[in-house]
Amino acid sequence: MTPTWEAQYIDGTILKEDTHKFREIDQSKLATFHIVDADNPDRSFILQWKEGRKLIHFWRHLIIHGVEETRITLTCFGYEEKGIKNLFVVMPDGGLIITDDIDSIKVEI
């Protein structure tokens, strides 16, 4: 299952991905940003928030046509701070890669 996010504000309010859009997060009120893996709770993690950061969330999808079609999705969370990106990339096997350059992650079959 693809990991989901939860945004917790300083006042304790929690916004969850299943009921809110990412753009609805008021980053000026953010205390922590949680990446939740419901299938593997021990692989969930929390980003402590700091003023001046800009949240990032996207998926990188690959559709691969070899002998048969294969699909791979990398789920990317993170932030940009002072022009530098810090990305936390959840791999298809649940592994986590921390990088400033998503293109440094090569996925081939």
Partner: protein
């Protein structure tokens, strides 16, 4: 929030037959999607396979996520001096190719170049004729729609000897930004 549903679709024939959610990009001597490979589809030296006209199709996008940054490349080894060409390119992109009936002769698609053999590192297939999204929504898909066509074709060189070749693997990559 749910991810958009995206497939590769292929257009064939003078009747502009669109096949959605293709599962292979096999090339052959018939102008069909999901070509089944058999020895009947082998082609002689110094000839071309049918062009492929393929594009991403965003079917559903209930969350309004943004699709952009499409990259295509192909890994594997072509025999001898065979070539695999495409209109996909990171620089001097010629804009959206207008569909024309696939040919089994040398493709006329504009600005052909060698198909990248690894991740090109930047978008090389456009949306709405451009590789780079703009602030007014051009160059991305935020509802449903199609990318530009990726036209590609393999030429079997005159010196290529008869026999099976190893399979190639075609990659379509795109980024989906959460709305």
């Amino acid at each position: 929030m749910t991810a958009a549903v995206v497939d590769i679709c292929e257009t064939n024939t003078v009747s502009v037959t669109v096949t959605d959610a293709i599962t292979s990009s096999n090339m052959g001597i018939t102008d069909t999607a999901n070509t089944t490979l058999t020895t009947a589809f082998a082609i002689p030296a110094d000839s071309y396979f049918y062009e492929k006209w393929q594009r991403l199709h965003v079917h559903t996008n209930a969350s309004g996520n943004t699709i952009q940054g499409i990259r295509v490349w192909c890994t594997g080894t072509l025999p001898g001096s065979d070539t695999h060409t495409t209109n996909a390119r990171t620089g001097s992109y010629a804009g959206a190719a207008s569909y024309s009936t696939p040919v089994i002769t040398q493709t006329a698609a504009a600005n052909r170049q060698t198909m990248p053999s690894s991740d090109p590192g930047a978008a090389n297939l456009g949306i709405g004729g451009t590789l780079t999204p703009t602030s007014n929504g051009v160059g991305l898909i935020s509802t449903t729609g199609y990318s530009d066509y990726m036209v590609h074709q393999i030429h079997v060189d005159s010196a290529t000897t008869a026999g099976p070749s190893s399979a190639l693997t075609l990659y379509f990559q795109y980024d989906e930004y959460s709305a």
